[in-house]
């Protein structure tokens, strides 16, 4: 099989990049150094804002049948993605497009093809070592399951601790263990591209003598706490103190451990730790029913995501979290208890000491990681800032950008698989074939298969039965194939173990037999058969088989709507996000209509002063305007948008008031934002009071001269990060820092004071903050209840503030006062109505899911990016544009969209048109076809949740494979099992 892309690192970014490309029809090899997929997220069950998982939201939504339809934590199963665990790329050679990629796959001791995951090996292994999955808070054997919930769930051997005693080899019933194997080299050639998504490690706090990590048992890392609170963790989700399993009453988080520290060579912010800590604090409070005091010791709470500030505020008010602005020096044990003492200086400048039961270290990213030597080879794309910590949403955007680069190297044009169905066979009465695996006779102790066989033959719609010694092997599958050819069976139930493993093979069987995939069902004979006695287990299996056979018998072929996709895109807004989206789409061969209400493209970028940002925008602008695939519509408004994913129509009004219709397959909304206005701080009362953006512009175009300013005061968060605009605009702090540095560099004698609440120099912009301090700029933090006061008297600006370090008032009379007023979206009121998409309470376009679907709107085929969605920087906006384009390509990149198997269908003859199902659909996949007076399902947007079906009182909605009758019958079978 041709491999188009090899992706190293199966963390969330790697998975996303893999799905991106797989959805475009590329074949992808995804590998990970670890024996499991999911990266750090396999250990983290909960993500804010809802503090639960939701990882499955990442699964492909278009052409769902190609992807897995179960929890992503279990593993990666996609027709176009091959996952190789315990493997690393060792070399990449050759030109882009024809790379030769050599991968080394570790020998893990257990042959996955033989292993049946019985666990006998583990039970006899004499070794016990700390379990890394639980951050050392539990133990594991040398042969172990690296991630308990993952599939395939065969164990691996950790040869670094294995004593080679051979007990496991003896215990294995299927001789799957080989202690002497060696790493294997696999070569993929030719490969289009390689994506490096290997991620970052975490700073090891044991390397510091300050925090007592590794010495004091109740000092844990944030990841450690996550494990302690996890259901799959050492205490099964109970929040206990590691040293003595006592409940925790007081907990302290220490932020910036290993970050923002020049002495650790860490002049960066790790970006995610603040919100991570707040989330964990909230979870801990919830777990302990708020019988817990949590203190978070911080320098700046970096709530720079659009919705983070409110999340933090909410956490503070509802759980009484204490936020203490002081970096803690070190952690000391208490006398006579397992508690710890922490000292700090409070906001009154007083030295305080307190005792806590648990100290959580918010450890930042690891430093000093280096790229492999092939990193800069042509065709190798590392995720931007591979080694940085990023919020999930941002990681996905970065993955999309890398996938976009890989895609640009060319891949297959999407040629959907042409499935032929044996209509004659399908139209016949349901004839099921039941495959009963005897698992090499291993099941005979637990199950009486003969009895099952005899009982089933008496059942109405009785299945033809094929008993196999081992269904999972190649021979087994061959026999099933033969049985299908030689019989008229048109439904298949395979009762075996580990059905997840069969996913691929079953699809192949279905293809050969010319039957829909959904006509094949697997039944897990091991994990889902309950009961203690053989009789109980046999009965349990029997009723499950009956129910499965029955519901399959009732399953009808799905009418597969083929919707021909209009292969062009609409991009609304010609700022950085819109431009980069348009260019990405055009590069993939898609026609783009780019609309901007202004006559000049560039959005906020037109004010950029000369520099790298301006250069890259100019380059993008010229690429866009000169691209043959892009039609630019300047000074044009969008007035109407109708249709469904793949077949939209937009109505636009040109400058000379002509209406025009533009058909397109997907739309990207990038209508941008601008600087907010404020009335605070005497904003408009003196011409020496400017906004941070106006100052940047003035310094850039030289209309303002730094030498004119001798005393400068800047106030951050002016009118923002408090209700009603309670969000961080993300870029003002960095802009203010750069402004200040520019002034100071040109005019070293100028004094500059910056009043700030939390300096949001996240990630690498921390370096700018450091540089600003070193330039002699003075920073004074303030709280909402002690804002600096500004007055304008006799043409003089007076600023009075309070310096909490000195505990003194500061009086300044600057000749320039700069306010960071933040960012607000433009036009979203109208645009959200035109597209029928939602906005946040602040008027930003709301994405479907801030973590997992960061640029999807709630409606399939419409994507949101840039400032219209959230405040962000120039590069971030361009990246989001690409991300949106990649999402759009899932639709635009294929000639037609097909109905997946589990999809709602309306039986119009029954439908009363009450329309209750329309608002009930979480994907806006239902609509009233007014012309025909029918309720319709947009079968592309429908994800098969069935909320409509359960709602509809006269069952006019059918869910493919989950028909009401089948479920009702199953209930009846289960409740009326006759003892065989």
């Amino acid at each position: 099989m041709n491999i188009h892309t090899v992706i190293a690192g199966a963390g969330i970014s790697g998975i996303r990049a893999a799905f991106d490309l797989a959805e475009l029809g590329h074949r992808v090899v995804l590998l990970d150094k670890a024996p499991s997929s999911g990266g750090i997220l396999s250990q983290l069950d909960h993500q804010f804002p809802d503090n639960h998982c939701g990882m499955c939201t990442l699964l492909p939504m278009i052409d769902r049948d190609k992807g897995p339809q179960f929890c992503l934590r279990k593993g990666i199963f996609h027709d176009h993605v091959t996952f190789i665990p315990s493997a690393e790329i060792v070399s990449v050679k050759g030109p882009a497009g024809q790379l030769s990629v050599v991968v080394e796959k570790q020998h893990t001791g257990i042959d996955p093809l033989k292993c049946m995951a019985c666990g006998s090996c583990e039970s006899v292994c004499p070794v016990s070592v700390p379990d890394g999955f639980n951050e050392g808070y539990s133990t594991r054997k040398a042969v172990f399951l690296p991630v308990p919930h993952q599939i395939p769930n065969h164990r691996i051997i950790d040869f670094s601790v294995c004593t080679r005693c051979g007990e496991c080899v003896k215990a294995c019933p299927v001789s799957a263990i080989n202690l002497d194997g060696e790493a294997r080299k696999l070569e993929f050639n030719p490969v289009n591209a390689v994506i490096l998504a290997t991620g970052s490690g975490q700073y090891d706090p044991a390397q510091s003598d300050l925090y007592g990590f590794g010495v004091l048992p109740n000092v844990v890392t944030s990841k450690g706490l996550e494990r302690i609170m996890s259901s799959s963790g050492p205490s099964k989700g109970q929040l206990f103190r590691p040293s003595d399993n006592k409940p925790i009453k007081r907990m302290a988080f220490l932020q910036c451990v290993g970050s923002r520290n020049l002495m650790e060579n860490a002049d960066h912010c790790s970006s995610v730790c603040c919100m991570f800590a707040v989330k964990e604090a909230v979870m801990a409070c919830e777990k302990s029913h708020d019988d817990l005091t949590v203190s978070i010791f911080y320098m700046d709470m970096r709530t720079f995501g659009r919705d983070f500030q409110r999340y933090k505020d909410q956490a503070e008010t509802s759980h009484g979290l204490r936020f203490i602005r002081c970096r803690v020096h070190s952690v000391e044990p208490c006398e006579n208890t397992d508690g710890m003492k922490i000292s700090y200086v409070n906001d009154k400048g007083m030295y305080m000491e307190e005792t806590v039961d648990l100290v959580v270290l918010s450890t930042g990213k690891k430093t000093g990681l280096t790229h492999p030597d092939f990193y800069q080879n042509e065709g190798v794309f590392a995720l931007s800032d591979t080694f940085d910590f990023k919020d999930i949403g941002e990681s996905l955007v970065a993955a999309d950008v890398a996938a976009g680069k890989a895609m640009a190297l060319g891949g297959p044009p999407h040629t959907p698989e042409q499935r032929i169905f044996d209509t004659q066979r399908l139209s016949k009465k349901a004839m099921p074939l039941l495959v009963l695996c005897q698992c090499g006779n291993n099941l005979s102790n637990d199950l009486d298969l003969d009895l099952i066989e005899s009982h089933l033959s008496a059942m109405p719609g009785a299945p033809q039965i094929l008993k196999l010694e081992q269904a999972c092997g190649a021979a087994g599958f061959e026999s099933i194939g033969t049985a299908l050819t030689s019989s008229q069976a048109n439904r298949v139930v395979i009762a075996a173990c580990n059905p997840f493993l069969f996913d691929h093979k079953i699809k192949a069987l279905a293809r050969d037999a010319q039957l829909p995939d959904g006509f094949f069902k697997t039944l897990d004979m091991r994990s889902h058969v309950t009961g203690k006695t053989k009789n109980e287990q046999t009965q349990s299996l029997l009723s499950q088989i009956k129910s499965t056979v029955n519901s399959l018998n009732l399953t009808l072929p799905v009418y597969r709507e083929k919707r021909t996709v209009t292969p062009s895109a609409l991009v609304v807004g010609g700022g950085p996000a819109g431009l980069s989206a348009a260019f990405c789409l055009a590069s993939a061969g898609i026609d783009v209509d780019l609309l901007d209400k202004e006559s000049q493209l560039g959005g906020n970028g037109i004010h950029f002063s000369p520099g790298p940002e301006k250069n890259s925008l100019d380059k993008l602008l010229s690429s866009v305007t000169n691209h043959p695939k892009i039609r630019v519509h300047p000074a044009t408004c969008l007035t109407r948008h109708q249709g469904l994913a793949g077949v939209f129509t937009a109505t636009i009004t040109t400058p000379n008031a002509v209406e025009q219709k533009i058909p397109h397959g997907a739309a990207i909304v990038a209508t941008g934002g601008g600087q907010a206005q404020t009335l605070d701080y005497c904003a408009s009362q003196h011409n020496g009071i400017l906004s941070v953006f106006d100052l940047a512009k003035g310094l850039g175009d030289k209309t303002l001269n730094p030498l004119d300013f001798s005393k400068v005061v800047m106030i951050q968060c002016a009118g923002t990060r408090e209700e009603p605009r309670n969000y961080c605009s993300r870029i003002c702090c960095t802009k203010a820092l750069l402004n200040a540095i520019a002034i100071k560099e040109a005019n070293p004698s100028a004094s500059i004071h910056i009043f700030y609440r939390d300096m949001m120099s996240y990630g690498e912009s921390e370096k700018i903050y450091t540089r600003a301090r070193q330039a002699g700029i003075l920073f004074i933090p303030f709280d909402l209840h002690k804002k600096p006061q500004v007055a304008v008297n006799n043409q003089t600006i007076h600023v009075t503030g309070f310096d909490p370090v000195l505990q003194e008032d500061v009086q300044l009379a600057p000749d320039l006062l700069v306010l960071s007023t933040g960012i607000v979206p433009t036009d979203n009121q109208i645009i959200s109505k035109i597209f029928h998409i939602n906005t946040t309470q602040d008027g930003f376009l709301k994405e479907a899911n801030s973590k997992w679907r960061p640029v999807d709107s709630g409606r399939e085929g419409i994507f949101v990016c840039g400032l219209a969605r959230a405040p962000l920087g120039f590069q971030e906006a361009m990246d989001e544009g690409i991300s949106a384009a990649m999402r759009a390509l899932r639709i635009l990149g294929r000639p037609f969209l097909e109905t997946p198997q589990v999809t709602a269908r309306v039986r119009h003859s029954l439908c009363s048109r009450c329309q209750a199902c329309i608002p009930e659909c979480p994907y806006q996949a239902r609509y009233l076809d007014e012309e025909n007076g029918k309720i319709m399902v947009d079968s592309v947007s429908c994800q098969g949740c069935g909320a409509c079906a359960s709602l509809c009182p006269n069952s006019s909605i059918m869910m493919g494979q989950f028909e009401e009758k089948g479920i009702m019958d199953s209930i009846e079978f289960f409740l009326n099992e006759a003892c065989p």
Partner: protein, 140 residues
């Protein structure tokens, strides 16, 4: 008459609780044999008829397991289910069904132990309640 064994139908969502059940299964965390599990894509898919059917057909308990709020693969199917099931429980309670016989629990994908614990507890609870009043009636 041998020891009373309740009949229990579990309607579980594909993404979370079924995954947890699977994890419990593969982790060899055994749960009571009385449970008969039906996998649905989402708890939001649960028609009230399924619950009525189960009780009228002699189930002693109906267990519904879904994703935690906020966790739903389909955004809010679980919340819809919660509301609907609340109504059904209210209805059944008027006909003398103990409300405890119908349980709705959130069990996340990685919560294998929770699944086991919940199932065991539910079976215990139902066993303590004894057979449903429908048992051995000829109604349907």
């Amino acid at each position: 008459m041998s020891e009373y064994k309740p009949k229990i139908v579990a309607l579980v969502c594909n993404w979370c609780t079924y995954t947890a059940a699977d994890l419990a299964g593969t982790s060899r965390l055994s749960y009571p044999a009385e449970i008969r599990m039906i996998r649905l894509m989402c708890t939001g898919m649960i028609d009230q008829k399924y619950i009525l059917k189960a009780f009228l057909d002699g189930a002693d308990g109906v267990f519904i397991g879904g994703c935690h709020p906020g966790d739903c693969h389909y955004i809010d199917g679980n919340i819809k289910a919660e509301k609907r099931i609340g109504g059904t429980r209210n209805l059944l309670s008027q006909f003398g069904f103990e409300p405890d016989r119908l349980a709705l629990q959130w069990i996340g994908a990685s919560e294998g132990p929770e699944f086991q614990h919940n199932m065991t507890a539910f079976v215990e609870r139902i066993t303590a309640l004894g057979p449903s009043q429908v048992a051995d009636r000829m109604i349907l």
